[in-house]
């Protein structure tokens, strides 16, 4: 990985011996100690470390929870309560895992928006971007199946609604849905396979995280100016500069996370999920977890089932192919005033869609969802390609990272 020269010098005999056989210490040194990183990275570039922390938290708490959880439709709900009541620190494990899922998404959404704002998807980082999208989709799959496991009302009915979406696919839809269920409705086989997959998917995700880091280390980090690294002065070694900065942020975020784990434990969940799954009683409003709400709003905005499914998946696909929609030569929106305004309108659209996704599908909620859904697609498919041709190059664009850093007068300018 990486195309900078390795300056690792084995000090001890055993290091030298190992280096000739498996240069793992050399790799760590090259990639995570001396790795040249743009010196002008701002705090939005610290989310990678935060995400790494949450991945570890989810895996560790998840493995221990799996030791106590029972994937049986008659016992699942009680086994979760057994964890809450009788397992030592079980309540902590479960609340860390449940809120960890939410914080994973909060961090990943900020991480994605950072990428969109500073044009981190543009050449040569297209693969890096696509791998990121794959990780995001795997996260959604893992989170969805995880939410089913407590086998509460929202688990059951959320699973029913989402798996039913696949039945909209022409010809093979019903077969796919039955394959997901392992039966003719969401039931015991569904729960059992979701548990197996909920354990598997994060492992695949972890592999893609390694690929993501690999791809990152081939091309190097983008930066707030969106400029390529040209000289050695443009960069600083990853350690200690960025390790310590990232750790500071990660620990601060853990503080906010702890506040939710300990004091708002169930705030991001739904009270209905403390009611046992009951196939005979449908909840008044079936609401997915908050991080799916924008897509749920889009799904319901289209009056046709297949159309809704296409729109929902399409909404993610347009994000995935943005490297080929936004081809403007300037990466960072700092130097693209019009695209910047459009970006914030897109952010507002996503937030409002999230709000609407939590509301019943009726009245003006639907009207608003439709209007915002249209803007979502217009932003990616029309506005970005047009701006790529029309928006002027900016003469304020600095010549290099060093120039941008050394040329400024005070910190106020940086916050611009």
């Amino acid at each position: 990985m990486g195309h900078h020269e390795s300056n690792y010098q084995p000090k001890w005999a055993i290091e030298k011996w190992l280096d000739e056989r498996l240069p793992v210490i050399r790799m760590m040194s090259d990639q995570f100690i001396v790795f040249p990183t743009p010196r002008n990275l701002n705090y939005w570039w610290t989310l990678g470390m935060v995400l790494f922390f949450f991945l570890i938290i989810q895996i560790v708490t998840g493995i221990v929870l799996a030791m106590h959880y029972v994937a049986d439709s008659g016992l699942a709900f009680d086994s979760v309560e057994h964890i809450m009541r009788d397992v030592n620190w079980g309540w902590l494990l479960r609340y860390m895992h449940a809120n960890g899922g939410s914080f994973f998404f909060i961090a990943v959404y900020i991480h994605i928006l950072r990428g969109l704002y500073y044009g981190s998807y543009k050449a040569p980082r297209e693969i890096l971007w696509l791998v990121g999208i794959v990780i995001y989709i795997l996260m959604m799959a893992a989170a969805f199946m995880g939410y089913v496991l407590p086998w509460g009302q929202m688990s059951y009915w959320g699973a029913t609604v989402i798996t039913n979406l696949f039945s909209a696919i022409p010809w093979v839809g019903d077969s796919i849905t039955q394959l997901l269920w392992g039966a003719y409705s969401v039931s015991q086989p569904t729960l059992n396979r979701f548990f197996a997959l909920h354990y598997l998917v994060p492992m695949i995700l972890a592999v893609f995280v390694i690929i993501h880091v690999w791809a990152l280390h081939v091309v190097g980090s983008n930066n707030p100016e969106g400029l390529d690294v040209k000289t050695k002065e443009d960069t600083l070694p990853f350690h200690p500069y960025f390790t310590m900065k990232d750790l500071f942020v990660a620990i601060s975020v853990l503080g906010i996370y702890a506040f939710f784990v300990f004091y708002m434990s169930n705030y991001m969940g739904h009270p209905d999920n403390y009611i046992r799954a009951n196939p005979m009683v449908t909840p008044t409003h079936i609401v997915p977890e908050w991080y799916f709400l924008p897509f749920y709003a889009i799904l319901r905005a289209v009056p046709d089932k297949l159309g809704g499914v296409i729109a929902m998946f399409g909404a993610i696909i347009v994000v995935a192919i943005i490297p080929w929609l936004d081809t403007h030569p300037i990466r960072s929106l700092r130097y693209r005033p019009i695209a910047r305004i459009m970006f914030w309108l897109f952010v507002a659209t996503a937030l409002l869609l999230g709000f609407l996704g939590a509301k019943p599908a009726s009245g003006w909620y639907i009207t608003a969802s439709r209007a915002l859904m249209v803007f979502w697609f217009v932003y990616f498919l029309i506005i970005l390609p047009i701006l790529s041709r029309m928006e002027r190059n900016n003469d304020k664009l600095p010549g290099s990272i060093s120039e941008a850093v050394l040329g400024k007068s005070d910190d106020a300018a940086e916050a611009r």
Partner: protein, 318 residues
Amino acid sequence: MSIKSKLVALAAILTVSGSVGFATIAEAGGHDGAEHNAYHPARQSWTFGGIFGKFDRAQLRRGYQIYDEVCSACHSMKLMSYRNLMESGGPEFTKDEVKKMIADKAVPAEPNDEGATYADGERITRPALLTDRFVSPYENDKAAMAANGGALPPDLSVMAKARSLPHAGSGKEADNIFFATVAGIKEYAGWVFGVARDIVTQYQEGGPDYIYALMTSYEEEVPEGAKPIPEDKNFNHIFPGNAISMAPPLSDETVEYADGTKPTLDQHARDIATFLMWVAEPKLEERKRTGFMALVYLFILSMLMYMVKRAIWSGQKH
């Protein structure tokens, strides 16, 4: 834009959205449009709310008394064991007290030496042990429904986490795009404001608030303007649809408290809501205590890391 003008803009946005949000919440009160409009459920003050929240032992003991004397006639509490009543963070009865309390309780016995669980058509029972789950009033759901006019009295083990006060919302038909926009902005601002308020106040007590409201908002007669309800149902302001099968379970002096507290309906409602919260979250006190230490630890560590970061970066322009 300079930092200063950005801050001014942010303050302006926060002020405007905050006032709109507050106005929306104040106006909506919490009803769902479909339910009877004159009633406004409120957030109550609980001893177990907030960062340093703790249960009031005496209140939990009174709550158990209400459950034991009133609720348990119809409602099961299958996730609770009698031993829980003496564990720390709960009512903290002594072992002897609990033993005395369960002396008259009989639980379905395990198969006897002949493998039988019934004798002369009667379920064989044995005295309850500390390790037994709370004895259920009915043998199964069908029996419970048969005894309650077809309605199933829900298990109360996690009830206090399975309910919350209803949220404000309109969802009215949009006559035109303008109305939709105005209503949307107003409601969205109200929602943002509500979330911010919940986080600042660590609002976790929607369940107990709902239970308190349910216990205290029965009406003998259907109020004027409300939709009529079926003959065999009771009118309750907060229950979705207003028609609830459960007859008013509590009123003044329903239970004569062992500790001599004045037995008002309000007191009963608060005590049972508190007890149900503990039942739903028996580790609440441990959680809040641990949480405070975790927050202090992470705060100090984060400050130290900030100083480390500052020191390392001090010589570098960035």
